[in-house]
Protein backbone atom coordinates (compact mmCIF):
# COMPACT_ATOMS: atom_id res chain seq x y z
CA UNK A 1 0.00 0.00 0.00
CA UNK A 2 1.34 3.39 -0.94
CA UNK A 3 0.53 6.12 1.48
CA UNK A 4 1.18 9.76 0.81
CA UNK A 5 3.72 10.86 3.41
CA UNK A 6 2.53 13.59 5.76
CA UNK A 7 4.38 16.88 5.34
CA UNK A 8 2.63 18.87 8.07
CA UNK A 9 4.93 20.20 10.78
CA UNK A 10 4.26 21.82 14.14
CA UNK A 11 6.48 24.59 15.45
CA UNK A 12 4.95 25.14 18.87
CA UNK A 13 1.88 27.30 18.21
CA UNK A 14 2.59 27.48 14.50
CA UNK A 15 1.19 24.62 12.43
CA UNK A 16 2.24 24.44 8.81
CA UNK A 17 1.05 22.20 5.99
CA UNK A 18 4.58 21.66 4.71
CA UNK A 19 8.13 22.23 5.95
CA UNK A 20 9.09 24.16 2.81
CA UNK A 21 8.82 27.93 3.35
CA UNK A 22 10.14 30.82 1.33
CA UNK A 23 12.52 33.28 2.94
CA UNK A 24 11.85 36.94 3.51
CA UNK A 25 13.51 39.24 0.98
CA UNK A 26 13.72 36.58 -1.71
CA UNK A 27 10.06 36.29 -2.65
CA UNK A 28 8.98 39.93 -2.94
CA UNK A 29 5.41 40.32 -1.71
CA UNK A 30 4.49 36.99 -3.37
CA UNK A 31 2.73 38.77 -6.28
CA UNK A 32 6.01 38.80 -8.13
CA UNK A 33 6.16 35.00 -7.90
CA UNK A 34 2.58 34.23 -8.89
CA UNK A 35 3.52 33.14 -12.43
CA UNK A 36 6.03 30.61 -11.19
CA UNK A 37 4.80 29.21 -7.88
CA UNK A 38 2.01 26.99 -6.60
CA UNK A 39 1.48 28.84 -3.34
CA UNK A 40 -0.78 26.11 -1.94
CA UNK A 41 2.12 23.68 -1.75
CA UNK A 42 4.23 25.95 0.45
CA UNK A 43 4.31 25.76 4.23
CA UNK A 44 4.36 29.53 4.44
CA UNK A 45 5.25 32.63 2.52
CA UNK A 46 7.34 35.20 4.38
CA UNK A 47 7.18 38.50 2.53
CA UNK A 48 9.95 41.09 2.43
CA UNK A 49 10.84 42.71 5.75
CA UNK A 50 8.59 45.58 6.71
CA UNK A 51 9.73 48.47 8.88
CA UNK A 52 7.61 50.93 10.82
CA UNK A 53 8.35 53.77 8.43
CA UNK A 54 9.22 53.72 4.71
CA UNK A 55 12.88 53.08 3.91
CA UNK A 56 14.42 54.11 0.62
CA UNK A 57 17.07 51.39 0.81
CA UNK A 58 20.74 51.43 -0.12
CA UNK A 59 22.21 53.02 -3.24
CA UNK A 60 22.89 50.60 -6.12
CA UNK A 61 24.64 48.39 -6.94
CA UNK A 62 22.70 46.42 -4.35
CA UNK A 63 23.77 42.93 -5.36
CA UNK A 64 26.82 41.28 -6.82
CA UNK A 65 27.31 37.64 -7.67
CA UNK A 66 30.17 35.76 -6.05
CA UNK A 67 31.42 32.18 -6.47
CA UNK A 68 28.22 30.13 -5.99
CA UNK A 69 26.81 32.98 -3.96
CA UNK A 70 25.09 36.34 -3.93
CA UNK A 71 26.19 39.34 -1.91
CA UNK A 72 23.41 41.81 -1.23
CA UNK A 73 22.87 45.11 0.48
CA UNK A 74 19.30 46.06 -0.39
CA UNK A 75 18.89 47.98 2.85
CA UNK A 76 15.32 46.98 3.72
CA UNK A 77 13.84 49.05 0.89
CA UNK A 78 10.13 49.05 1.72
CA UNK A 79 7.14 51.37 1.91
CA UNK A 80 6.58 50.98 5.64
CA UNK A 81 4.01 49.18 7.78
CA UNK A 82 0.97 51.29 6.80
CA UNK A 83 1.45 50.64 3.09
CA UNK A 84 2.23 46.97 3.81
CA UNK A 85 -1.13 46.63 5.54
CA UNK A 86 -3.15 48.46 2.89
CA UNK A 87 -1.35 47.36 -0.29
CA UNK A 88 0.25 43.98 0.32
CA UNK A 89 -1.50 42.23 3.18
CA UNK A 90 -4.92 41.98 1.48
CA UNK A 91 -3.32 40.10 -1.43
CA UNK A 92 -1.13 37.96 0.81
CA UNK A 93 -3.82 36.76 3.20
CA UNK A 94 -5.96 35.57 0.28
CA UNK A 95 -3.21 33.19 -0.86
CA UNK A 96 -3.78 29.49 -0.13
CA UNK A 97 -0.84 29.29 2.29
CA UNK A 98 0.21 30.60 5.69
CA UNK A 99 1.58 34.15 5.72
CA UNK A 100 4.24 35.07 8.25
CA UNK A 101 5.04 38.78 8.31
CA UNK A 102 8.69 39.65 8.79
CA UNK A 103 9.25 42.82 10.79
CA UNK A 104 12.30 44.88 11.76
CA UNK A 105 12.20 47.58 14.40
CA UNK A 106 14.74 50.19 15.43
CA UNK A 107 13.95 49.80 19.11
CA UNK A 108 12.11 47.53 21.52
CA UNK A 109 9.19 49.96 21.43
CA UNK A 110 9.05 49.91 17.67
CA UNK A 111 9.07 46.11 17.56
CA UNK A 112 6.29 46.08 20.12
CA UNK A 113 4.20 48.69 18.29
CA UNK A 114 4.57 46.91 14.96
CA UNK A 115 3.54 43.63 16.56
CA UNK A 116 0.50 45.30 18.12
CA UNK A 117 -0.50 46.84 14.81
CA UNK A 118 -0.17 43.54 12.96
CA UNK A 119 -1.97 41.69 15.73
CA UNK A 120 -5.02 43.80 14.89
CA UNK A 121 -5.01 42.66 11.25
CA UNK A 122 -6.67 39.52 9.94
CA UNK A 123 -5.15 36.49 8.29
CA UNK A 124 -1.55 36.36 9.49
CA UNK A 125 -0.23 33.05 10.81
CA UNK A 126 2.79 34.42 12.62
CA UNK A 127 5.54 36.99 12.89
CA UNK A 128 9.19 36.54 12.06
CA UNK A 129 11.46 39.04 13.78
CA UNK A 130 14.31 40.29 11.65
CA UNK A 131 16.90 40.94 14.34
CA UNK A 132 19.66 40.08 11.95
CA UNK A 133 19.77 42.28 8.84
CA UNK A 134 23.44 43.12 8.22
CA UNK A 135 22.75 46.04 5.89
CA UNK A 136 21.04 48.54 8.10
CA UNK A 137 22.74 51.00 10.37
CA UNK A 138 21.15 53.24 12.94
CA UNK A 139 19.17 50.59 14.76
CA UNK A 140 20.28 48.51 17.67
CA UNK A 141 21.93 45.30 16.61
CA UNK A 142 19.54 43.09 18.57
CA UNK A 143 20.62 39.84 17.02
CA UNK A 144 24.20 39.88 18.22
CA UNK A 145 23.37 40.28 21.90
CA UNK A 146 21.53 37.42 23.63
CA UNK A 147 19.99 39.67 26.28
CA UNK A 148 18.70 42.18 23.74
CA UNK A 149 17.46 39.43 21.45
CA UNK A 150 15.51 37.94 24.33
CA UNK A 151 14.02 41.33 25.20
CA UNK A 152 12.72 41.83 21.65
CA UNK A 153 10.97 38.47 21.75
CA UNK A 154 9.53 39.18 25.19
CA UNK A 155 8.10 42.54 24.12
CA UNK A 156 6.63 41.10 20.93
CA UNK A 157 5.10 38.19 22.84
CA UNK A 158 3.40 40.73 25.13
CA UNK A 159 2.07 42.62 22.11
CA UNK A 160 0.58 39.77 20.12
CA UNK A 161 -0.90 36.32 20.41
CA UNK A 162 0.57 35.41 17.02
CA UNK A 163 3.30 32.75 16.97
CA UNK A 164 6.77 34.36 16.97
CA UNK A 165 9.87 33.27 15.10
CA UNK A 166 13.22 34.94 15.77
CA UNK A 167 15.44 35.10 12.69
CA UNK A 168 19.06 34.92 13.77
CA UNK A 169 22.28 36.25 12.34
CA UNK A 170 25.30 33.98 11.95
CA UNK A 171 27.62 36.95 12.50
CA UNK A 172 28.15 36.15 16.17
CA UNK A 173 30.63 34.17 18.19
CA UNK A 174 27.99 31.89 19.67
CA UNK A 175 24.68 31.57 17.83
CA UNK A 176 23.53 28.97 20.36
CA UNK A 177 23.56 31.58 23.13
CA UNK A 178 21.30 33.89 21.11
CA UNK A 179 18.98 31.00 20.21
CA UNK A 180 18.78 29.96 23.86
CA UNK A 181 17.93 33.50 24.90
CA UNK A 182 15.06 33.88 22.44
CA UNK A 183 13.79 30.41 23.35
CA UNK A 184 13.77 31.38 27.03
CA UNK A 185 11.93 34.58 26.13
CA UNK A 186 9.11 32.63 24.54
CA UNK A 187 9.89 32.40 20.84
CA UNK A 188 7.94 29.61 19.15
CA UNK A 189 10.84 28.88 16.80
CA UNK A 190 14.13 30.23 15.56
CA UNK A 191 15.01 30.63 11.90
CA UNK A 192 18.65 30.63 10.89
CA UNK A 193 20.76 31.80 9.31
CA UNK A 194 20.45 35.27 7.85
CA UNK A 195 23.34 36.30 5.57
CA UNK A 196 27.05 36.39 6.40
CA UNK A 197 28.91 39.69 6.30
CA UNK A 198 30.83 39.89 3.05
CA UNK A 199 32.54 42.19 0.61
CA UNK A 200 33.56 42.37 -3.03
CA UNK A 201 36.17 44.85 -4.25
CA UNK A 202 36.81 46.18 -7.73
CA UNK A 203 40.52 46.40 -7.01
CA UNK A 204 41.41 48.15 -10.26
CA UNK A 205 39.21 51.06 -9.26
CA UNK A 206 40.11 50.63 -5.58
CA UNK A 207 36.42 50.64 -4.77
CA UNK A 208 33.88 48.32 -3.17
CA UNK A 209 31.40 46.93 -5.69
CA UNK A 210 28.31 47.36 -3.52
CA UNK A 211 26.85 50.81 -2.98
CA UNK A 212 26.75 49.98 0.73
CA UNK A 213 30.44 48.85 0.73
CA UNK A 214 29.63 45.57 2.52
CA UNK A 215 26.71 43.20 2.27
CA UNK A 216 25.31 39.84 3.24
CA UNK A 217 26.35 36.62 1.54
CA UNK A 218 23.77 33.98 0.63
CA UNK A 219 23.37 31.12 -1.81
CA UNK A 220 24.92 27.65 -2.13
CA UNK A 221 28.28 29.04 -0.97
CA UNK A 222 27.01 29.35 2.61
CA UNK A 223 25.15 26.05 2.87
CA UNK A 224 27.72 24.13 4.94
CA UNK A 225 27.99 27.08 7.35
CA UNK A 226 24.22 27.33 7.70
CA UNK A 227 23.86 23.60 8.11
CA UNK A 228 26.41 23.54 10.92
CA UNK A 229 24.65 26.41 12.72
CA UNK A 230 21.31 24.63 12.32
CA UNK A 231 22.71 21.40 13.74
CA UNK A 232 24.32 23.16 16.70
CA UNK A 233 21.18 25.11 17.61
CA UNK A 234 18.83 22.16 17.07
CA UNK A 235 20.92 20.13 19.49
CA UNK A 236 20.99 22.84 22.11
CA UNK A 237 17.55 24.44 22.30
CA UNK A 238 14.08 23.06 22.95
CA UNK A 239 12.20 25.08 20.34
CA UNK A 240 12.04 24.08 16.67
CA UNK A 241 14.62 25.34 14.21
CA UNK A 242 13.87 26.55 10.69
CA UNK A 243 16.99 26.06 8.58
CA UNK A 244 17.97 28.68 6.01
CA UNK A 245 21.08 29.08 3.89
CA UNK A 246 21.83 28.02 0.33
CA UNK A 247 19.11 25.40 0.07
CA UNK A 248 18.53 24.63 -3.60
CA UNK A 249 17.97 20.87 -4.00
CA UNK A 250 16.00 18.11 -2.31
CA UNK A 251 19.30 16.77 -0.94
CA UNK A 252 19.89 20.15 0.69
CA UNK A 253 16.42 19.99 2.25
CA UNK A 254 17.04 16.48 3.56
CA UNK A 255 20.42 17.48 5.01
CA UNK A 256 18.83 20.27 7.03
CA UNK A 257 15.99 18.04 8.22
CA UNK A 258 18.39 15.29 9.25
CA UNK A 259 20.52 17.91 11.03
CA UNK A 260 17.49 18.79 13.14
CA UNK A 261 15.57 21.49 11.28
CA UNK A 262 11.79 21.10 11.55
CA UNK A 263 11.31 23.24 8.45
CA UNK A 264 13.44 25.09 5.92
CA UNK A 265 13.26 28.33 3.99
CA UNK A 266 14.21 28.63 0.34
CA UNK A 267 15.96 31.95 -0.28
CA UNK A 268 18.40 32.99 -2.97
CA UNK A 269 17.52 29.98 -5.13
CA UNK A 270 14.10 31.54 -5.81
CA UNK A 271 15.89 34.34 -7.68
CA UNK A 272 17.35 31.99 -10.28
CA UNK A 273 14.70 29.28 -10.09
CA UNK A 274 11.42 30.91 -9.03
CA UNK A 275 9.46 27.67 -9.27
CA UNK A 276 11.90 25.78 -7.04
CA UNK A 277 10.16 26.00 -3.67
CA UNK A 278 6.93 24.40 -4.90
CA UNK A 279 8.87 21.73 -6.81
CA UNK A 280 10.81 20.88 -3.65
CA UNK A 281 7.54 20.08 -1.88
CA UNK A 282 6.74 17.33 -4.38
CA UNK A 283 10.38 16.23 -4.39
CA UNK A 284 10.10 15.86 -0.63
CA UNK A 285 6.94 13.74 -0.97
CA UNK A 286 8.73 11.50 -3.43
CA UNK A 287 11.84 11.25 -1.30
CA UNK A 288 9.90 10.30 1.83
CA UNK A 289 7.82 7.77 -0.09
CA UNK A 290 10.97 6.21 -1.56
CA UNK A 291 12.30 5.91 1.98
CA UNK A 292 9.07 4.23 3.04
CA UNK A 293 8.40 6.91 5.67
CA UNK A 294 4.95 8.06 6.83
CA UNK A 295 5.85 11.54 7.84
CA UNK A 296 8.52 14.20 7.48
CA UNK A 297 8.84 13.97 11.26
CA UNK A 298 10.54 10.61 10.78
CA UNK A 299 13.51 12.37 9.19
CA UNK A 300 13.91 15.40 11.44
CA UNK A 301 16.93 15.22 13.71
CA UNK A 302 17.94 11.72 12.68
CA UNK A 303 21.63 12.45 12.30
CA UNK A 304 23.74 9.62 13.64
CA UNK A 305 27.25 10.34 14.80
CA UNK A 306 29.89 7.64 14.61
CA UNK A 307 30.90 6.41 18.08
CA UNK A 308 34.34 8.00 17.83
CA UNK A 309 33.14 11.50 16.97
CA UNK A 310 30.33 11.33 19.53
CA UNK A 311 32.89 10.41 22.17
CA UNK A 312 35.22 13.17 21.03
CA UNK A 313 32.47 15.73 21.46
CA UNK A 314 31.45 14.70 24.93
Amino acid sequence: MTRVPRLAVVLNRLQLASPILVASGTFGYAREMADFTDFSSLGAVIPKTVTARPRIGNPPPRTVETASGLLNAIGLDNDGLAVFITEHLPYLVELPTAIIANIAGHSLEEFQQMAETLDATQGLSGLELNISCPNVSGGIDFGTNPTMAGQVVERVRQATSLPVIAKLTPNVTDIVAVAQAVADAGADAVSLVNTFHGMVIDWRRRRPVLGNTTGGLSGPAIKPLALCATWKVANAVEIPVIGIGGIATIDDVMEFLVAGATAVQIGTASFYDPGLASRLVSDLQTCLRDLGLDSVGDVIGTLELPESSAAARS
Partner: protein, 294 residues
Protein backbone atom coordinates in the same frame (compact mmCIF):
# COMPACT_ATOMS: atom_id res chain seq x y z
CA UNK B 1 5.65 57.48 -0.76
CA UNK B 2 3.27 58.65 -3.50
CA UNK B 3 1.63 56.64 -6.26
CA UNK B 4 2.39 53.40 -4.43
CA UNK B 5 0.88 50.77 -6.63
CA UNK B 6 0.41 47.10 -5.86
CA UNK B 7 0.58 46.21 -9.54
CA UNK B 8 3.10 48.47 -11.20
CA UNK B 9 3.10 48.61 -14.97
CA UNK B 10 5.00 45.65 -16.32
CA UNK B 11 4.04 43.29 -13.55
CA UNK B 12 1.73 41.43 -15.87
CA UNK B 13 1.06 37.80 -15.11
CA UNK B 14 2.31 36.31 -18.34
CA UNK B 15 5.80 35.03 -17.63
CA UNK B 16 6.82 31.39 -17.85
CA UNK B 17 9.82 29.46 -16.56
CA UNK B 18 10.98 26.81 -18.99
CA UNK B 19 13.93 24.66 -19.99
CA UNK B 20 14.48 25.65 -23.62
CA UNK B 21 16.78 24.08 -26.21
CA UNK B 22 19.38 25.90 -28.24
CA UNK B 23 18.31 25.95 -31.89
CA UNK B 24 21.28 27.80 -33.35
CA UNK B 25 24.14 30.15 -32.56
CA UNK B 26 25.44 32.68 -35.07
CA UNK B 27 28.39 35.07 -34.82
CA UNK B 28 27.13 38.60 -35.46
CA UNK B 29 30.31 40.62 -34.98
CA UNK B 30 33.53 40.42 -33.02
CA UNK B 31 32.77 38.76 -29.65
CA UNK B 32 29.08 39.20 -30.43
CA UNK B 33 26.70 36.30 -31.01
CA UNK B 34 23.04 35.63 -31.60
CA UNK B 35 21.43 32.67 -29.89
CA UNK B 36 18.09 31.18 -30.86
CA UNK B 37 16.23 29.20 -28.21
CA UNK B 38 13.21 27.01 -28.77
CA UNK B 39 10.50 28.30 -26.44
CA UNK B 40 7.10 28.67 -28.15
CA UNK B 41 5.20 29.93 -25.09
CA UNK B 42 7.66 32.74 -24.51
CA UNK B 43 7.97 33.49 -28.24
CA UNK B 44 4.22 33.84 -28.54
CA UNK B 45 3.90 36.31 -25.67
CA UNK B 46 6.94 38.56 -25.84
CA UNK B 47 6.85 42.18 -27.01
CA UNK B 48 9.66 44.32 -28.45
CA UNK B 49 11.74 45.75 -25.60
CA UNK B 50 10.83 42.99 -23.16
CA UNK B 51 13.54 40.67 -21.85
CA UNK B 52 14.05 37.27 -20.29
CA UNK B 53 16.47 35.72 -17.81
CA UNK B 54 18.85 33.08 -19.15
CA UNK B 55 20.96 30.64 -17.19
CA UNK B 56 22.78 27.36 -17.63
CA UNK B 57 20.87 24.75 -15.63
CA UNK B 58 22.64 22.80 -12.91
CA UNK B 59 25.44 25.28 -12.28
CA UNK B 60 26.04 27.26 -9.12
CA UNK B 61 28.84 29.33 -10.66
CA UNK B 62 27.63 31.33 -12.49
CA UNK B 63 24.63 31.21 -10.18
CA UNK B 64 22.04 33.76 -11.27
CA UNK B 65 20.29 34.22 -14.57
CA UNK B 66 21.28 37.14 -16.78
CA UNK B 67 18.80 39.45 -18.51
CA UNK B 68 18.75 39.57 -22.32
CA UNK B 69 16.52 41.70 -24.52
CA UNK B 70 14.50 40.15 -27.30
CA UNK B 71 16.21 40.54 -30.68
CA UNK B 72 13.44 38.84 -32.59
CA UNK B 73 10.94 36.03 -32.54
CA UNK B 74 11.56 33.11 -34.88
CA UNK B 75 8.55 31.54 -36.56
CA UNK B 76 8.04 28.10 -38.08
CA UNK B 77 6.89 27.50 -41.66
CA UNK B 78 3.26 28.06 -40.58
CA UNK B 79 4.18 31.46 -39.19
CA UNK B 80 3.75 30.30 -35.57
CA UNK B 81 6.24 31.80 -33.08
CA UNK B 82 8.57 29.05 -31.85
CA UNK B 83 11.89 30.60 -30.95
CA UNK B 84 13.42 33.64 -29.32
CA UNK B 85 16.58 35.30 -30.57
CA UNK B 86 18.88 37.42 -28.49
CA UNK B 87 22.27 38.96 -28.97
CA UNK B 88 25.10 38.99 -26.49
CA UNK B 89 28.65 40.21 -26.17
CA UNK B 90 31.23 37.97 -24.53
CA UNK B 91 32.06 39.89 -21.36
CA UNK B 92 31.65 37.70 -18.29
CA UNK B 93 31.31 34.34 -16.63
CA UNK B 94 28.08 33.26 -18.29
CA UNK B 95 28.69 34.71 -21.75
CA UNK B 96 32.10 32.99 -21.92
CA UNK B 97 30.25 29.71 -21.40
CA UNK B 98 27.46 30.65 -23.79
CA UNK B 99 29.77 30.73 -26.81
CA UNK B 100 30.19 26.98 -26.35
CA UNK B 101 26.45 26.23 -26.29
CA UNK B 102 25.40 23.97 -29.16
CA UNK B 103 22.07 23.09 -30.75
CA UNK B 104 20.10 20.85 -28.43
CA UNK B 105 21.72 22.11 -25.22
CA UNK B 106 19.24 22.87 -22.40
CA UNK B 107 18.95 26.46 -21.19
CA UNK B 108 16.80 27.84 -18.35
CA UNK B 109 14.70 30.79 -19.43
CA UNK B 110 12.25 32.93 -17.54
CA UNK B 111 10.08 35.51 -19.28
CA UNK B 112 8.79 37.57 -20.91
CA UNK B 113 9.73 40.18 -18.32
CA UNK B 114 9.50 43.95 -18.11
CA UNK B 115 7.21 46.37 -19.93
CA UNK B 116 8.72 46.66 -23.42
CA UNK B 117 8.32 49.53 -25.87
CA UNK B 118 4.92 51.05 -26.48
CA UNK B 119 3.08 50.43 -29.74
CA UNK B 120 4.50 52.30 -32.74
CA UNK B 121 3.46 55.95 -32.92
CA UNK B 122 2.58 58.05 -35.93
CA UNK B 123 5.15 60.39 -37.41
CA UNK B 124 8.90 59.80 -37.32
CA UNK B 125 10.36 57.26 -34.87
CA UNK B 126 14.11 57.53 -34.38
CA UNK B 127 15.95 54.73 -32.59
CA UNK B 128 19.38 55.49 -31.16
CA UNK B 129 21.49 52.46 -30.27
CA UNK B 130 24.96 52.00 -28.87
CA UNK B 131 26.76 48.67 -29.23
CA UNK B 132 24.71 45.65 -28.23
CA UNK B 133 21.97 48.15 -27.28
CA UNK B 134 20.71 47.74 -30.85
CA UNK B 135 19.12 44.38 -30.06
CA UNK B 136 15.61 45.57 -29.10
CA UNK B 137 15.26 47.60 -32.28
CA UNK B 138 14.92 44.84 -34.85
CA UNK B 139 11.61 43.75 -33.34
CA UNK B 140 10.54 47.40 -32.92
CA UNK B 141 11.32 47.96 -36.62
CA UNK B 142 9.52 44.87 -37.84
CA UNK B 143 6.43 45.69 -35.81
CA UNK B 144 6.42 49.31 -36.99
CA UNK B 145 6.77 48.18 -40.62
CA UNK B 146 3.86 45.80 -40.18
CA UNK B 147 6.10 42.85 -41.02
CA UNK B 148 5.41 41.02 -37.80
CA UNK B 149 3.02 41.09 -34.83
CA UNK B 150 4.06 40.43 -31.26
CA UNK B 151 2.29 39.51 -28.05
CA UNK B 152 -0.64 37.33 -27.08
CA UNK B 153 -3.11 38.30 -28.39
CA UNK B 154 -0.90 39.79 -31.11
CA UNK B 155 -1.00 43.56 -30.92
CA UNK B 156 -1.76 45.37 -34.12
CA UNK B 157 0.39 48.35 -34.89
CA UNK B 158 -2.10 50.89 -36.21
CA UNK B 159 0.55 53.48 -36.97
CA UNK B 160 3.22 53.26 -39.66
CA UNK B 161 5.92 55.71 -38.62
CA UNK B 162 8.84 56.77 -40.72
CA UNK B 163 11.78 54.88 -39.21
CA UNK B 164 15.40 55.82 -38.61
CA UNK B 165 17.99 53.83 -36.71
CA UNK B 166 21.14 55.64 -35.59
CA UNK B 167 23.55 52.92 -34.62
CA UNK B 168 26.92 53.50 -33.00
CA UNK B 169 29.72 51.08 -32.25
CA UNK B 170 33.41 51.30 -31.45
CA UNK B 171 34.50 49.90 -34.77
CA UNK B 172 33.13 48.37 -38.00
CA UNK B 173 33.87 44.83 -36.79
CA UNK B 174 31.63 45.40 -33.76
CA UNK B 175 28.58 46.47 -35.70
CA UNK B 176 26.34 43.53 -34.94
CA UNK B 177 23.33 42.42 -36.92
CA UNK B 178 23.26 45.22 -39.50
CA UNK B 179 22.28 42.64 -42.13
CA UNK B 180 19.29 41.57 -40.05
CA UNK B 181 17.61 44.97 -40.32
CA UNK B 182 15.23 45.42 -43.24
CA UNK B 183 16.80 47.25 -46.18
CA UNK B 184 13.42 48.75 -47.12
CA UNK B 185 11.51 51.11 -44.90
CA UNK B 186 14.32 51.82 -42.44
CA UNK B 187 16.83 54.63 -42.75
CA UNK B 188 19.93 53.12 -41.12
CA UNK B 189 22.71 55.52 -40.15
CA UNK B 190 25.95 54.31 -38.64
CA UNK B 191 28.64 55.93 -36.53
CA UNK B 192 31.88 54.37 -35.30
CA UNK B 193 34.31 55.73 -32.76
CA UNK B 194 37.27 54.97 -35.07
CA UNK B 195 35.60 56.02 -38.31
CA UNK B 196 35.92 52.54 -39.83
CA UNK B 197 32.26 52.62 -40.90
CA UNK B 198 29.85 55.51 -41.38
CA UNK B 199 30.21 58.72 -39.42
CA UNK B 200 33.49 59.09 -37.51
CA UNK B 201 32.28 60.03 -34.05
CA UNK B 202 29.44 59.57 -31.62
CA UNK B 203 26.05 58.20 -32.54
CA UNK B 204 24.56 61.24 -30.83
CA UNK B 205 26.16 63.39 -33.58
CA UNK B 206 23.86 61.58 -36.01
CA UNK B 207 20.85 62.42 -33.87
CA UNK B 208 21.92 66.06 -33.47
CA UNK B 209 22.43 66.31 -37.21
CA UNK B 210 19.02 64.80 -37.92
CA UNK B 211 17.27 67.16 -35.51
CA UNK B 212 19.10 70.22 -36.83
CA UNK B 213 18.99 69.58 -40.56
CA UNK B 214 15.84 67.54 -41.01
CA UNK B 215 12.42 67.51 -39.46
CA UNK B 216 12.40 66.78 -35.75
CA UNK B 217 11.45 63.20 -34.79
CA UNK B 218 8.08 62.54 -33.17
CA UNK B 219 9.55 59.97 -30.82
CA UNK B 220 13.01 58.75 -29.86
CA UNK B 221 13.82 55.31 -28.46
CA UNK B 222 17.28 54.70 -27.07
CA UNK B 223 19.22 51.74 -25.72
CA UNK B 224 22.93 51.42 -25.04
CA UNK B 225 25.58 52.74 -22.66
CA UNK B 226 24.14 55.05 -20.04
CA UNK B 227 26.21 58.17 -20.91
CA UNK B 228 25.00 57.83 -24.50
CA UNK B 229 21.38 57.46 -23.37
CA UNK B 230 21.71 60.47 -21.11
CA UNK B 231 23.05 62.54 -24.03
CA UNK B 232 20.12 61.34 -26.16
CA UNK B 233 17.66 62.20 -23.41
CA UNK B 234 19.18 65.69 -23.07
CA UNK B 235 18.85 66.30 -26.81
CA UNK B 236 15.26 65.08 -26.72
CA UNK B 237 14.42 67.35 -23.80
CA UNK B 238 16.13 70.33 -25.44
CA UNK B 239 14.01 69.93 -28.57
CA UNK B 240 10.87 68.85 -26.76
CA UNK B 241 10.79 65.40 -28.34
CA UNK B 242 9.19 62.44 -26.56
CA UNK B 243 11.85 59.90 -25.62
CA UNK B 244 11.82 56.37 -24.21
CA UNK B 245 14.94 54.95 -22.59
CA UNK B 246 15.59 51.23 -22.18
CA UNK B 247 17.83 50.79 -19.14
CA UNK B 248 20.29 47.98 -18.76
CA UNK B 249 20.55 47.58 -15.00
CA UNK B 250 22.21 44.61 -13.29
CA UNK B 251 19.53 42.28 -11.96
CA UNK B 252 19.51 39.31 -9.62
CA UNK B 253 16.05 37.93 -10.41
CA UNK B 254 14.41 39.93 -13.22
CA UNK B 255 10.84 39.65 -11.92
CA UNK B 256 10.69 42.06 -8.99
CA UNK B 257 11.50 39.83 -6.02
CA UNK B 258 14.98 41.01 -5.09
CA UNK B 259 14.79 44.82 -5.25
CA UNK B 260 18.35 45.12 -6.56
CA UNK B 261 17.86 46.63 -10.04
CA UNK B 262 16.58 49.94 -8.74
CA UNK B 263 16.93 53.23 -10.56
CA UNK B 264 16.07 56.76 -9.45
CA UNK B 265 12.68 57.84 -10.74
CA UNK B 266 11.33 61.37 -10.46
CA UNK B 267 8.14 61.68 -8.50
CA UNK B 268 5.41 64.23 -9.11
CA UNK B 269 6.31 66.01 -5.86
CA UNK B 270 9.81 66.82 -7.12
CA UNK B 271 11.46 64.12 -5.03
CA UNK B 272 12.83 60.85 -6.35
CA UNK B 273 12.47 57.24 -5.30
CA UNK B 274 14.16 53.99 -6.23
CA UNK B 275 12.01 51.84 -8.50
CA UNK B 276 12.66 48.37 -9.85
CA UNK B 277 13.89 48.49 -13.45
CA UNK B 278 12.74 44.92 -14.10
CA UNK B 279 9.04 45.42 -13.38
CA UNK B 280 8.50 49.17 -13.86
CA UNK B 281 10.88 49.26 -16.85
CA UNK B 282 13.22 48.53 -18.45
CA UNK B 283 11.65 51.15 -20.75
CA UNK B 284 11.02 54.50 -19.06
CA UNK B 285 9.94 57.90 -20.33
CA UNK B 286 13.21 59.84 -20.37
CA UNK B 287 11.78 62.66 -18.27
CA UNK B 288 11.02 60.24 -15.41
CA UNK B 289 14.68 59.31 -14.97
CA UNK B 290 16.81 61.11 -12.44
CA UNK B 291 20.10 61.13 -14.35
CA UNK B 292 22.43 63.00 -12.03
CA UNK B 293 24.42 61.05 -9.46
CA UNK B 294 23.35 57.69 -10.79
Amino acid sequence: MDEASPTPAGLVPTAVQRTARVIEQVEMARDTFRLRLECPELAKRILPGQFFMVREPGLTDPLLGRPFALFDVACDSQGEPVGIDFGYVVVGKLTRRMVRWKPGDPVSVCGPLGNGFPEPCDGHLVMVAGGIGQTPFLAVTREALGQRRYGDPPRTAAARPELTLCYGARSANQLAGIDSFPAEGLDLRVATDDGSHGHHGFVTDLLQDLITNESAPTMIYTCGPEPMMEAVAMLAAEHDIACRVSLETPMACGFGACFSCVTRIRLDNGQWDYRRTCVEGPVFPAEKLHWSDR
